[in-house]
């Protein structure tokens, strides 16, 4: 459904002076028909620019892409007819109702008036907009608005739908509802490309994901595959303030420890909690149960007494950490 090769885009800095900013440095992705594909990455990784390029909103500076069976650069109009796109901020006018927006959107795709009205009615039902859809959009909650955005994005029945951060800012029940709608679209045979910086979203919703950092794809596969690629297990150590340098010093040289990273917290080793989670030193080992006793001995010998030791299955956060050397959820 989508094949891209070396897609890039840089933006001139304001006024055209200075060096251009490379938003996307080279995206290679393959998205198969009927899958929910997640583009996972931190804010500023180039996710939105990538989506906008694929949705014909931004002209790529270089690279190739075939989107929904048409060449992105040579036939943008064909691509445009076959895809749907929902921007991060949506795009409804406060003064008009969801039904009016749906009819207008259908008509902008060239659909006749009677058919547009019929489709708006169907969409109201399919996305559960009946209760509020005849009130002005300005009165909706965040979750309601998002459902309207989704309905608008598929009113012309595209084969491929782009969703830019579809659940950002939503409460958990609304998020679950949006996921459900997205899964329903896939069940109807639609391919969905979702950008997100939420790990749970990439893990729980997406069939396959591409991890993007600094405008490049650093990993691609199913969440399971990617997690399996992280050899072995992860061990999280919560240390007393000030113990971290010493611990790193003794752990790094060990052969059976394949990686030592800092994750969680606010990054600074001052004992303050950044996001409610204590900063953690994360180690990757082949087999945690047998490595643990050895690990504790080494630490004790060095005079480091961990506050907490936790065993964890590798998460997508670990995948990101392993590929980029930074944890994902630092913002």
């Amino acid at each position: 459904m989508i094949v891209t090769q070396g897609l890039r885009k840089s933006f001139a800095t304001r006024g055209g002076r200075g060096t251009p900013v490379d938003a996307v440095r080279g995206i290679d992705l393959t998205v198969g028909p009927g899958e929910i594909f997640g583009v996972l990455g931190p804010n500023g990784a180039g996710k939105t620019t990538t989506l906008r390029m694929l949705a014909t909103l931004v002209r790529p500076d270089g690279g190739e892409a075939v989107v929904a069976g048409a060449d992105l650069r040579a036939e943008p109009a064909t691509v445009r007819r076959r895809i749907g796109y929902v921007a991060q901020g949506g795009g409804t006018a406060d003064a008009v109702t969801a039904r009016e927006e749906l009819v207008l959107q259908a008509r902008m795709y060239g659909i006749g008036k009677a058919e547009a009205v019929a489709r708006a009615g169907e969409a109201m039902e399919a996305f559960g907009l009946g209760e509020f859809g005849d009130r002005p959009c300005g009165t909706y909650s965040g979750g309601q608005r998002r459902r309207v955005d989704l309905a608008l994005g598929v009113i012309h029945r595209p084969r491929l739908l782009f969703l830019d951060e579809p659940t950002v800012g939503l409460d958990p029940p609304s998020r679950a509802q949006v996921w459900e709608q997205i899964r329903r679209l896939r069940a109807d045979g639609m391919t969905v490309l979702v950008s997100t910086h939420y790990l749970e979203e990439a893990d729980g919703l997406c069939d396959r994901i591409g991890i993007v950092d600094h405008g490049r794809v650093v990993a691609e596969g199913t969440p399971e595959q990617l997690k399996k690629e992280i050899a072995g297990d992860a061990v999280g150590l919560v240390l007393r303030p000030g113990d971290r340098p010493r611990a790193e010093e003794v752990l790094r040289p060990l052969e059976w420890v394949s990686g030592v990273e800092t994750a969680g917290g606010d990054g600074a080793d001052d004992g303050n909690e950044g996001d409610g989670q204590p900063p953690e030193l994360r180690l990757y080992v082949d087999d945690a149960p047998s490595a643990l006793p050895q690990l504790l001995r080494v630490l004790q010998a060095a005079g480091v007494d961990p506050v907490l030791v936790q065993l964890r299955r590798p998460s997508l956060d670990d995948v990101f950490l392993a590929r980029t050397g930074r944890p994902l959820d630092q913002d």
Binding site: L57, R80, Y85, A87, A95, R107, Y109
Partner: protein, 254 residues
């Protein structure tokens, strides 16, 4: 055909939004009324040297200028509405559809033209009790001229909004353009009162000719050269402005 259909779609939608936003309508009506009721009465004495010996004379000179100013200023400030829609993602939602790019511009500009013409009609009607007289056919010509002015001004404003990109910058830019244009066209006071050098400068301002044409039409002198000159100039300029703005729209808003 597609362009017409799409323009109509965008236009309808913009009208709907305008009708649902009563504040706009209130402001749009109140502003010209203030000029008409609070400023125009001063003019009888002020315009005495231009041959105004009665309120009717004063209004005949003043109203066409006021209408031209409305069309020019109203048009030039519509860029802000576009910036708002760009920010809200409304324009982007249209951009992913195959809808004509020129229609996105024209539909919006035409809504502006219609709104300004309704304002103008209101002002004209309210000036009638003060003794303003104008022949219906000439009024029609005057409104054609006004419509062209408004279409040109809104196209320029959309173009500027796209170039400048932000509210903070658009304000000063529009003001800088609008102020000399309006002053140098004698919208409020006829430039016949101005010293020679000012009149020479005004000769180079197309809006001056538009205002002169308006005044001639309201004075019942449709044969005056100012009328056809104004119509020709504004038609040409409007075509240029729409072409320029549409090109920017198509390029920036692919």
């Amino acid at each position: 055909m597609k362009l017409l259909r799409d323009t109509w779609l965008v236009f309808q939608r913009q009208v709907l939004i305008m009708i649902r936003t009563p504040v706009w309508i209130a402001v749009g009506i109140l502003q010209p009324l203030c000029y008409l009721l609070l400023f125009a009465p001063l003019l009888k004495s002020a315009l005495a040297t231009s041959g105004a010996h009665s309120y009717a004379d004063a209004y005949r000179i003043y109203v066409p200028g006021l209408l031209s100013a409305l069309a020019l200023m109203g048009g030039l400030f519509t860029g802000f509405a576009l910036l708002g829609e760009l920010r809200a993602g409304i324009v982007e939602r249209s951009r992913v559809t195959p809808v004509s790019r020129v229609a996105l511009l024209l539909g919006r500009a035409l809504r502006e033209v219609v709104a300004l013409l309704i304002q103008a009609l209101l002002v004209t009607l309210l000036a009638l009790p003060f003794g303003l007289t104008v022949r219906p056919l000439y009024l029609l010509l005057a409104f054609l001229l006004l419509g062209l002015t408004a279409l040109m001004a809104s196209s320029v404003s959309y173009g500027l909004a796209l170039l400048v990109g932000g509210d903070a910058a658009l304000g000063p830019v529009v003001n800088t353009i609008a102020q000399p244009l309006a002053l140098l066209s004698g919208t409020l006071l006829p430039l016949a009162l101005a010293p020679h050098w000012l009149r020479t400068a005004a000769d180079w301002n197309p809006c001056y000719w538009a205002v002169e044409g308006m005044r001639a039409l309201f004075a019942g002198d449709a044969g005056a050269p100012a009328v056809w000159r104004a119509l020709a100039l504004m038609a040409g300029l409007t075509a240029l402005a729409v072409a320029w703005s549409a090109r920017l729209f198509a390029r920036r808003i692919r």
